[in-house]
Amino acid sequence: MLTKKTSDTEDIYNSEIVKSLRYAGMIQRALLPSAALMDRILGEHFTLFMPKDVVSGDFYWVSRKGKCIFIVAADCTGHGVPGALMSILGISFLNEVVKTDCTNRPNRILNKLREKVMEALNQTGDLNETKDGMDLSMCIIDREKQELQFSGANNPLYLIRENELIEIKPDKMPVGVNAVDEEPFSNNIISISRNDRIYMFTDGFPDQFGGPLEKKFKYGPFKDLLLDIHQREMKQQLNILRDTIADWMGDTEQIDDILVLGFSIT
């Protein structure tokens, strides 16, 4: 009798948590850019966004300021609720920095973002403190100048032009406190041309376990896959990526949030 009662209480409790999480998930989705906004800013694009849980530690963010388009794909520490809380911080800080700061340089935005995260989480480089933060890639596209500026915190950016994949490497440090003293993020400026395909992503896709030997998908096959499909329509690319990762996973559990953002320069 007592066991039954406990079990009922747990059920009620769990269902309350699930309800709360679902609601939190709705709020988080509302904070992400809507499909219409993405269409308006990026034009031809796809977004593969597969949270591991109801709420996600990955997020994407776009904005337009003057002639420049700002795009971010980010992976916060952890996934689920902790990741989601950090993602909300990240989105708020991005909005604040990009709107209030005059700079159009992604490295300076990442520098500022890191200051905000360190300040908010009271990070001072102490060995015992948590190293919460974000890995992210940010690019700013100036279509008039036909120029792309990129800064990455542990996450790279792929540009495919004339069947060649160019990897723009990130700085090996997160947006948040690092094991060593913080250094400024670097800025990469690349000329872009019509029909260039740009891919920004988190590590969820290449790090997913699966396949016959239960191994990671890895970055090499991920690059090959993008090279194979980049000339297709964006919607088709999305479907192929989604099917490929679903096939790769099979019955294996998804280990992290997955985010791949692709768009073409028009």
Binding site: C102, N107, R108, N111, K112, R114, E115, K116, V117, M118, E119, A120, L121, N122, Q123, T124, G125, V177, D181, E182, E183, P184, N187
Partner: protein
Amino acid sequence: MRLTQFRIRHFRSIVDSGWNNLSPDNITALIGQNESGKTSVLEALHCFQKGSISEDVLRSDLSMPVVSCRFKPDDDNFDFEGTGSLPPGVSDAIKKDGSFILERTWTSDQSSTVLLAGDEITEVFRRIEDAEKELARAALAGAEEVIKQYGDKEKESVELQSTIDNMKKEAEAAEAKLNLLNKQIKRSRDPSAGEVARRNAEKVKEKLASLAQNISDKENRLSEIRLKIAEEEFINNYSKECLKLHGNMEREIAEMEKAHSAMADIEQSIPFLKEEMEKKAGEARLFSAKEEYIKISRNVELLREKTAIRLRVLGKLIDNAELEAAEDEATEDYNRVSSMLTCEEAGDLFFEHIPPFEFFEDFSSLLPNRIDLEDIFEDNVRIEGYKAVRNFLLVAGLDPGFFKQTNNRILKQKIENLNNEVTVDFQEYWRQSLGKTNKIRIHFELEHYDISNPDKMGRPYLEFWIKDRHERLYPKQRSRGVRWFLSFYLELKAFARKNHTRNRILLIDEPGLSLHARAQEDVLKVFEDIKENIQIIYSTHSPHLIDTGKLYRLLAVQRSGEDREQSETIIFDASHLHSATSDTLSPVCSLLGAGMTRTEVPNRDRNVIVEDVTTFYYLSAFAAITGHEPKMNFIPAVGPAGVSVLVNLLTGWGFDFAVLLFDNPDNSVTLDELQSYLHNFDKDARGSRLVYATSFQAAEDLLSNLDFKKHIIRKRVGISGTNSAYIADNIISRPVIAASFMQEASAGTIGKKDIDEETRDNLNVIFSSLEVKLMSAGGT
């Protein structure tokens, strides 16, 4: 170890100076008018070291002086011998701050104590003291309660015994009455009378039964109380002993205070005794009084220890502990607490490790013309020039063994070499030429008395000369200025050499009063030379003893009100110089004017007026880092309000200049002022001399947050606002950190490669804008 801050309370005209930062590069100058309180600051610091004060330092309200000094050990992991006995929390608080405060307080008998102070530390000591007091209070209250309850029980037992005795007597009487009634019943022939007697007998029986019950109850109660009395007899006696011990201790403390007071009275009366006999008698009385005081204080210490342990034991006995266990625990607890240093003991311990202070107020000890070696080796301090010669020998690195050299030729050669070395060293500081290239030389010779001094014939003596190209004169034949500087030089060099292994603090009241301006600048050069190991705090009226590039060294001292005799002394540090009066700042203002003749400050062209000394430091550092050419000549105003004064001045002299203002509310007032009555200050107008650094609130905001953290505050924290806001929020001294940044930049420790692209861009914008304005200014 360095003295980094001081605070002086109730010392002459100083009511509370507040905490004042000393210059980070070890040279601090106190400027201010006569009677402003500069000397009081130096004397207060000297009193902090020596511990004694005279009555003339007391304020009219007779509040006793308190001088606090903050020291920063050179090594962050300092561990003075014995600091292991500090109460828990004190070491941590010191390590957290990286510094400690010592506070000397004086009492009305002018004796003083040094405490280890600071809010957090004082709180730790206070908690320990309160806990001890509470422990004693609770134990004494417990003792009184035990004694009271024991007394109540004794009283109750006596009363019970008496009641029982009375009841027994009553029972005996009733028994007798019953016997009588029984006899009456037996004897009675009258049935009615028999009946009455029977009824009475029944009543008596009932009473007897009742009495027997009562007696039994009372006896039981009495047994219980007696048992308790027996049980509590020990704790009752223990409590009485504790109270007696505590009473004895208090009486003995009162005796000790009386003895101390008697001793102080005798001590104070001795200087007024005129007759030798009276003095001797007074000294004998003082000796006896001291003996008595020492005897009583030892007794007090013993009583304190005994009482503290006994009260602890009593507290535990009251809580039903066994005596043996209570004694062990109490002793252990007492030993633990008594082994911890008190704030006075900790103060004494830390005091031993601070740098010694030396107060140079008189440099009258001049080199003599001649002195016997015998007087030097026998430490004959009363001989004229003894101190100066000792200093000279120390500076020259000579010890008595040197003069034992038997080979006269070698000795003469060595002396000749030393003369050259000392002279070269002295000439490094004494730049004042007698004529164009004719510098003075110090010369000493070892000679022996001849027949003209029969009493001393054959004995060695040293002879001194101050030579120039034309003359060889004895020291006394030279000017007062030369003699003063030479004496001063020897004192300082000897002081530095004596204490080369340990930092020292040198307090100097108005050095170089009688020196020529150039020689005063030489004094400053000596300061620079010795500042590595000696912190120098000096007062001055002279602009020649102030370095315009190092205004962070200044503390401005002035009276708070117009009534200078009565009002209190206040001190402004370098970041608040603009709050000081122009009279107080006159050496600084004179300096700007004095520099004109040497065209150092300002130049004829490429002058940039900036709002304050902090901005001056930053801009000078930025120019050094970026290697900006041609050089700009930055001139600091004394706060934003002083910008227009400098603008007027430079305009009047016909010098070219530009003005750099940062985008903050203070400067917007300055901007309005400039625009309202001066030409060429519309920030957007062509030919304007003004660079208004829009979006940068202060000079430090030209640095990226990362560079600011890396090179200025050296901390890994998140700074999401401006650097200047971070400084304001965290109450950091702007000029001090800016000065240190400028020193590093000037030394080349921080270069262009060490700043990031954001900082480089910002500096480029500012320097380019300034170039445009300077070109335009030069062209108009």
